[in-house]
Amino acid sequence: MSEPVALKLTAKDFKSTQEVRWCPGCGDYAILAAVQGFMPELNIPRERIVFVSGIGCSSRFPYYMNTYGMHSIHGRAPAIATGLSTTRPDLSIWVVTGDGDALSIGGNHLIHALRRNVNLKILLFNNQIYGLTKGQYSPTSEVGKITKSTPVGSADAPFNPLSLALGAEATFVARTIDSDRKHLQSVLRAAAEHEGSAFVEIYQNCNIFNDGAFEQLKGPATRDDSLIRLEHNQPITFGRDGQFCVVHPPGGFGLEVRETAATAAEEIVVHDATITDPAYAFALSRLPDLDLRNTPIGVFRSVRRPSYDSVVQEQLDAARATVTEPREQLFAGLLHSGDTWTIS
């Protein structure tokens, strides 16, 4: 194969003519800019890139990308994208969704897309609130959330999106933050390189209905002691001075945060996103406290498993390889198969 020709696209090439209509200050602007800035790196012609979305603030995303795009209906983007991806393996398909779209009304399609390992890059903008419908609690809102629909506090426990994705055995699972453009783009890069479903949770601030939800991870005073930046093959330590680390306590099921000074170096977990058993990445996904301390970001899991699309394509190719005659002739043979009789 010859080297691909450099397309020399820029972020500007990915901006559509549509006026962006999110609320001023919305985290979606930062994500849009990061994605538009990253797209040229793919070196894929714009016509072979498709953004598919459902309903919600985040789902307006396709209108702003100068690629092919479909703004579909609430929760169904993974299903629609599955049909597209299965029949068009030549395309780079990105699903943009939110916490309500992906985890509430569309929860079923999300887990099945991940289980099948359809070749989709799924970006879940998690702002822990319903924005477009003006401020009801979402399936990722904390228990006791007071909103218009829960005046005395929500009674139901939230989903942890990464735990859910890992439970569905997603082959690629990552988390990043709207405001950290460099990190966001590094995660997009890893997701784009992954064959199969790539699930990326992006913490996104809704400055109108849930402002500051992720402030613990963003403010200069708290972020360094709260964020765990996962690096493949590196010991997991964090904190302003690397004063915290992650260990696997003997006899326990999960992972725990300890003080680095009191921990032997060999006890510190070395991050490995390629571990086949999802239990490790699941344990990582359980680390954050309610106040968001100990929140890992980066690639939790990246394992190889044939994508649904590639298996289907192989079956299709194998069946077609048996065909020697023209389709019309082959079809005439099918019509005449079984018990036939002729009247003259």
């Binding site: 016509e47 598919v52 597209l84 299965t86 289907v312 019509l335």
Partner: protein, 615 residues
């Protein structure tokens, strides 16, 4: 001993037994043998939704009726001339449908006190005179089968299970059926278990020989081949024909066919059949639910495939939001509804035509789609092709309303020439269509079809966004402009209304009928048979059958107004009649029945005769 041979012009046989007795297979084989002989055929399988209802009970009875004749027939027959009853439950459940004088072949081995008690027989009906009006042939089917297989290396259970082949052998002898296809079938079916091929063939032959030697069957019958147009035929069910129609649509459009489906009775067979045809570029996906099934199909259409989803009524309800999206996106999509008795789970293995309202009106917003319905099992092939043609040409969802009766019933099908099937190749958009030569306008319509360009991802220079939000005319940009919305709603309606469909044809051989019977879908056969019956008795009646329900044929109003009375028989509570009355201001008579079974020609004939008397 040589037996008398008597010629008959038509026979109706019903095979009935327990769900586990293999009655569907027996009926199917008898039908196939009959088809080989060249009779015209129509069949009616009737079985419970339970896979194995409690053995020997009335709810567990499964039956298969086959009507064959030396002339063209339209229905599986109102009442059987012959009932094969494999147990007391099968006798009890079917006896009321039998005319006096009918032949009943019973498996006496199953008429134990316990089995009789299970279905509430106080006394053995074979021993009292309760069956005096019928010709009863008591046959020890099970024990004779087991006896015939004494030398075969099969378990007692497998030997007993072969009793349906004994029955088939006997009936094949009685009606002089050619049985080579059945022997070939058994070899295929039990290819991995040769001992069962031997046992089943031996059981079949034992049944045949029993007929030849026993004195109980003094007469053998023949039904001569029917006069049918020359050509090659096969016996086909509606679901099989519909599947082949979809494969044909892929062949003739040169597109990938993508079926998204979720298993549901009675539509699952289409998924099973299409999953075998990858060689033709047919991809099937068993989705996680009905909504994903249509979503994936729509996604495939967006990418340039022919997207199809198949289901039954409850599934259409779930898909309705996505159908409206497809209306807004203006992409091709075929939705197949194999109707069953509702509401809710209703009677999943029984037929009904009660989804017409849902097909025509069951969506949010003004969301018109094209709707058509096949009239017979073989017609399902052509209806599927027509649905694909409309979807591809007009870039619209099309609802195809089959039902359990045509889906599982079968008839001989004169196989078409592949070259004679419509050319369905499409013109994808390849270059900008704006006046400046550089802009692409995804909603700039073809003035003739009102269809918008189909620009699939991968086409350079045509990158565009579509979605469920209202779009501005031509540009497809999001628009909340009041006048634009009004224009788009009216245009989407006009796009469906202006699809040209063939004029409605009226069958009125006498030319002086004052009453028109209007039907749609699977009632074609029973209505036709009823009209024939009336005409044979010197009464004039006209028949017209709607295949296109949206849009309706342009000449429909004129036809309706040219008769004194219009009668609309439907297996619902008058859904088409409602539309006809509303659209054409015609005081149509609605005749309805929702038994979960097709109309019998007899009851329709009686009803129509009443109407004729009163004009």
């Amino acid at each position: 001993m040589s037996k008398k041979i008597r010629q008959l012009d038509r026979v109706v046989i019903r095979f009935a037994g327990d769900s586990g007795d293999g009655m569907q297979l027996t009926g199917d084989r008898f039908t196939s043998e009959t088809a080989q002989l060249g009779n015209d055929i129509s069949t009616l399988p009737n079985f419970p939704a339970e896979i194995r209802a409690p053995a020997g009970t009335l709810p567990g009875v499964s039956s298969f009726q086959v009507h064959f004749a030396d002339y063209d027939i339209l229905t599986p027959g109102d009442s059987p001339n012959v009932l094969v009853a494999m147990n007391p439950a099968a006798l009890k459940a079917n006896l009321a449908d039998l005319p006096r004088g009918a032949d009943i072949i019973v498996n006496t081995d199953e008429f134990s006190r316990r089995n009789l008690a299970k279905v509430g027989y106080q006394a053995n009906p074979l021993e009292d005179d309760s069956l005096a009006g019928y010709t009863v042939h008591p046959v020890a089917l099970t024990s004779m089968t087991v006896g015939a297989l004494a030398d075969h290396e099969v378990s007692k259970k497998d030997a007993e299970r072969a009793k349906n082949m004994f029955a088939l052998g006997l009936l094949s002898w009685m009606y002089s059926r050619p049985y080579e296809s059945t022997l070939r079938f058994l070899e295929r079916k039990f290819a991995t278990r040769p001992e069962l091929v031997g046992a089943n063939v031996a059981a079949f032959k034992a049944g045949w020989n029993f007929g030849e030697t026993t004195e109980d069957f003094a007469v053998r019958y023949e039904v001569k081949p029917a006069k049918m147009p020359p050509g090659t035929y096969r016996n086909i069910t509606g679901n099989a024909a519909l599947s082949l129609g979809l494969v044909a649509a892929g062949v003739r459009s040169e597109l990938l066919v993508f079926l998204g489906a979720y298993p549901i009775t009675p539509a699952s067979d289409i998924l099973h059949e299409l999953s075998k045809h990858k060689r033709f570029g047919v991809l099937t996906m068993q989705a996680e639910d009905e909504i994903a099934a249509i979503g994936a199909a729509l996604g495939a259409s967006y990418g340039g495939a022919l997207g199809v989803t198949t289901t039954s009524g409850p599934g259409v309800a779930l898909k309705s939001e996505t159908i409206s999206l497809a209306v807004a996106l203006e992409l091709p999509l075929v939705i197949v509804d194999v109707q069953r008795a509702g509401p809710s789970t209703g009677m999943p293995t029984k037929t009904e035509q009660a989804d017409l309202n849902m097909a025509l009106f069951g969506r949010h917003g003004e969301a018109p789609v094209a709707v058509l319905a096949p009239k017979s099992p073989a017609d399902c092939f052509y209806a599927a092709l027509e649905a694909a043609r409309i979807a591809l040409t007009y870039r619209t969802p099309v609802l195809l309303l089959s039902d359990n009766y045509v889906a599982n019933g079968s008839e001989p099908w004169l196989l078409p020439d592949v070259e004679s099937l419509p050319d369905l190749r499409v013109d994808f958009a390849t270059r900008p269509n704006g006046e400046d030569g550089a802009t692409f306008l995804p909603y700039l319509r073809d003035p003739e079809t009102l269809a918008r360009p189909w620009a699939v991802p991968g086409t350079p220079g045509l990158e565009h966004r579509i979605g469920g939000l209202e779009k501005a005319d031509k540009t497809g940009d999001i628009s909340y402009d009041p006048a634009n919305h009004d224009f788009m709603v009216r245009t989407r309606a006009a796009r469906i209304e202006s699809i040209p469909v063939p004029d409605l044809e009226v069958e009125d051989p006498d030319g002086d009928a004052r009453v028109l019977v209007l039907g749609w879908g699977s009632t074609y056969g029973p209505i036709g048979a009823a009209c024939r019956g009336l005409r044979q008795r010197g009464l004039s009646v006209a028949q017209a059958h709607l295949r296109h329900l949206a849009p309706m044929p342009a000449n429909l109003g004129e036809i309706l107004r040219s008769y004194e009375r219009v009668v609309i028989p439907e297996m619902n509570l008058g859904q088409l009649a409602h539309v006809i009355r509303a659209r054409y201001l015609v005081d149509a008579i609605s005749y309805n029945q929702v038994h979960g079974l097709p109309f019998t020609a007899n009851e329709l004939e009686t009803t129509l005769e009443e109407v004729l008397k009163n004009v």
